[in-house]
Amino acid sequence: MKYFLYQLKKHPLAIFGIAIIIFWLLAALFGPSLMQFTHTQIDSDFQMARPGEEGHLLGTDSLGRDILSRIIYGSRSILTVALLTSILSTIVGIILGFMAGYFGGKIDAVFLRGMDILMAIPPLVLSMVVLGILGNSTILSLTLIVSIAFIPATARVSRGVLLTEKSQEYVSAARIRGEHHLYIMFVEILPNTTGPIIVEATARFAYSIMMVASLGFLGVGLQPPTPDWGMMVIENKPIITQAPWAVLFPALAIASLVIAISIFSDFVSKVLIHEQ
């Protein structure tokens, strides 16, 4: 912890990133209860209200819904999906990547070809098609699909770090005392690979936010009335000339979160990998 603070002092940009992340986390947790308007409340007298008008701090959209409360409420779903996705894809990726890298040979070859096939389809297209077929996206289906789309990347990273660790002599030492393969993989090797894996997980976090937003923008994200940042951008696109704030603020929300997480991810990789 002390080391973490020491590094933080050396990387002031990271403080900025972490502050934004904390802001969004707090907003998602407590924001909705502090709002003057609910996210679905239609204020028909004030359609396309300017920011600041009548208590609508960030204005309203074409139906007169409060942009701020919709963004705040939307942060809940997007953060939930992104967090679950990065955790799920990392865990599955570790399991697959470790198995393939540890046993090598045919298992590894099958794994690599499988991942190649999955990687050949762009994650966005894959998710879009599957979600399109499934119809009505929920937080669960969204999480599952995006996780699957991300597994090749996390699995390859896990496989890579396992391969470097596998040649270490402590693994040989474990083998010649007759350890079980699973013990070697998850008790001996895993704790020494946390650095690169955590870095990859944080990077996945940023990617999944972009992905969820993009899916929302393409209309296969979460279904209304749940506010979704990507969906808000596309919904309000027709009124971009009359009420640019209705598009601008959700877009800014997406950008701020993605950038903040990317900065954080860079920082984590510096602390965990490069400077150890």
Binding site: Y6, Y170, A174, I176, R177, N192
Partner: protein, 662 residues
């Protein structure tokens, strides 16, 4: 002052790190005359490399440097980065420890060398190539033109290092800094390189700073010696004075702790330095060695400081030996002796026609037929250069790989199988200690977990309390205390880590321990204490050792039997004293002659081994050593594998040389 090429005055280097500011070099002053050579010696972490880097200004960003580095009257510390360019590589050159990482693997040797001349001396391409070839020739590299066209990975480590030196002399610098250039190389290669460095100095008249941890190497190349400890100079002076009258306790310890000059376990216990090097904060004062000094007395604090011993010889301590008997330097503690004799009748381990071939398409013949036995309670030392198959043999015995052909018989049972098919009983009986303790201990487990795990797995000891008690006992045996239980390997020094690895191997009372170069990653003083420990434990536990090392002195010290290996074959086998005395196998003789000697008066004629190891991807024909042998009998050596020549019941060699029969 004007006669010196380099004057370093009151140099301080501090590093600002997370753990606070620590001092790497503290108030160091020395000077180097034209055409002189100076050797800087000390263990790892004593600041010798930092000192060298500061001359070249290769230090990391968090370093702060104070003092004067005067090169021909100009202070290098005042120069800008751009001005330094004119010095680096051009007037001052440096050679690093690891040649493999100092050469760019994707460029040809010739290109990399040309670049130096083109950049520094603004030569044309053709002129630069001429200079390159000349430099390569000067380093005795056969076929310079062919070598220049090759890539670094196509060349052996020894030649790579010679190429690095050729690169350093390309611009004819007047000062060359060599930072442990032979540490990563075999002794035979080291001997050749040290020789060519000597030649170079005669030809080019340069000044030399040679950094090493090995007194023997310094003895060969340097005229003046600077001994550093913990960032400070503790003693400096002309070589013969340092070696004949070492004054500082640290210098004495360094000279004494190496198993040299035929020191063996029955007559000597190695001298050690207790404790470990501790990083010093930048504000700490006083004698840096005081915590580890066995000659410490009440006046140490008050009288600390440099004092002259003779005209050019100064040391940071002269009190420690005031009351000593003059021959204390030779004083050794009594060793532990074997009480029960080695049982000669049964063999604990037998290797029968053991082969190991790696790879399927491109084959590497690592071990090519080895027959040898290990007696219970004895130590068999396996010695040879890197790539001779000694580690592979050890790893096969320990079960890391399955032999390609041949049998491993342990206590009457065939165990020529890999670990996954061995019985827990066998796994328990044979333990392996690795070369690098930092890598063989899991960095994220605590010492307690590390030692407890084999016990949980292979020994029936369900009671947690009993297990903990046993762990503590084992830790005491390897001279570590209770406070180590919760530590992680990273928090330990190299020597402590290797002790933990030894404790792990011992915890389940094995009958055979394979020690794979257990001391070669350690500092000399630590090596001595680990060797003492291994020896005591061997007598105590009565386990047999298979002790693998490239260092003939170390093997000579600890072994009862010695097997000399070359290119996957046995050259010579016998009781220790039989192997270490004539009649020698030519390879053993060459190895012996290449060992650097600490005593300046006892300089041996080195038998230079030219050429390199036979290509391991070809099945050997004839005597594998024939290509490099200085005593080759004739064409028969190349054609036929030599017969076994028995000199005694236990001593045999594989050689065509005919000895008069007794």
């Amino acid at each position: 002052m004007n006669n010196n090429i380099l004057n370093i005055e009151n140099l301080h280097i501090n590093f600002d790190t997370f753990d606070g500011e620590f001092s790497a070099v503290n108030d160091v002053s020395f000077s180097l005359g034209y055409d002189e050579s100076i050797g800087i010696i000390g263990e790892s972490g004593c600041g010798k490399s930092t000192l060298a880097f500061s001359i070249m200004r290769y230090l990391a960003k968090n370093a702060s440097v104070r003092g004067i580095i005067n090169y021909k009257g100009e202070n290098l510390l005042d120069k800008t980065e751009r001005e330094m360019e004119a010095y680096r590589g051009n007037r001052i050159a440096m050679v690093f420890q690891n040649p493999e990482s100092s050469l760019n693997p994707s460029l040809t040797i010739g290109f990399q060398l040309d670049e130096v001349a083109i950049h520094h001396q603004k030569l044309s391409k053709a002129k630069a190539r001429e200079a390159t070839l000349e430099a390569l020739e000067m380093m005795n590299i056969g076929d310079p033109k062919g070598t220049a066209r090759r890539y670094p990975h196509q060349i052996s480590g020894g030649i790579q290092q010679r190429i690095c030196i050729a690169m350093a002399i390309l611009c004819r610098p007047d000062l060359m800094i060599l930072d442990e250039p032979t540490t990563a190389l075999d002794v035979t290669t080291e001997a050749v390189i040290l020789d060519s460095i000597k030649d170079l100095r005669n030809k080019l008249k340069m000044s030399l700073i040679y950094i090493s941890h090995d007194m023997g190497v310094i003895n060969k190349v340097a005229e003046h010696v600077v001994v550093m400890y913990n960032g400070e100079i503790v003693e400096k002076g002309p070589k013969h004075e340092i070696f004949d009258h070492p004054t500082h306790p640290y210098t004495r310890a360094l000279i004494n702790c190496m198993p040299r000059g035929g020191v063996v376990k029955e007559n000597t216990k190695l001298n050690t330095i207790k404790g470990y090097v501790r990083r010093r904060g930048s504000s700490e004062k006083g004698c840096p060695f005081v915590e580890r000094c066995d000659k410490r007395n009440d006046t140490c604090e008050s009288l600390y400081g440099m004092r002259p011993i003779s005209e050019n010889h100064i040391a940071a301590c002269d009190r420690a030996y005031a009351t000593d008997v003059p021959d204390l330097i030779k004083k050794k503690t009594t060793p532990t002796l074997r009480t029960t004799p080695i049982n000669n009748n049964n063999d604990l381990l037998q290797l029968e026609n053991l082969h190991k071939v790696y790879g399927s398409r491109r084959k590497i013949y690592a071990v090519n037929g080895i027959d040898v036995e290990v007696k219970p309670r004895s130590v068999l030392g396996i010695v040879g250069e890197s790539g001779c198959g000694k580690s592979t043999t050890g790893h096969m015995v320990a079960g890391l790989y399955k032999p390609t052909k041949g049998r491993i018989v342990f206590d009457g049972g065939d165990i020529s199988i890999a670990w996954n098919r061995r019985s827990p009983e066998t796994l328990k009986d044979i333990q392996l200690i690795f070369q690098n303790p930092g890598r063989s201990l899991n960095p994220s487990h605590t010492v307690e977990q590390i030692i407890a795990r084999p016990m949980k797995l292979l020994v029936d000891m369900p009671d947690k309390e009993a297990r903990k008690k046993h762990i503590l006992q084992i830790l005491t045996k390897v001279d570590l205390g209770k406070e180590y239980l919760e530590k992680k390997p990273r928090q330990l020094s190299g020597g402590e880590q290797q002790r933990v690895a030894i404790a792990r191997a011992l915890s389940i009372s094995p009958r055979l321990i394979v020690c794979d170069e257990p001391t070669s990653a350690l500092d000399v003083s630590v090596q001595a204490s680990v060797l003492n420990l291994l020896n005591d434990l061997q007598l105590d536990t009565e386990a047999a050792y298979l002790f693998i090392s490239h260092d003939l002195n170390v093997v000579n010290y600890i072994s009862d039997y010695i097997m000399v290996m070359y290119a996957g074959k046995i050259c010579e086998y016998g009781k220790r004293d039989e192997v270490m005395q004539p009649p020698f196998h030519p390879y053993t003789e060459a190895l012996l002659s290449a060992m650097p000697e600490v005593d300046p008066k006892k300089q041996r004629e080195v038998i230079e081994l030219e050429g390199h190891l036979p290509d391991p991807s070809k099945k050997p024909k004839g005597c594998p050593f024939a290509g490099r042998c200085h005593k080759q009998v004739g064409e028969i050596c190349e054609r036929e594998y030599p017969p076994m020549v028995r000199h005694s019941e236990t001593h045999y060699q594989f050689c065509h040389i005919k000895y008069p029969s007794e």
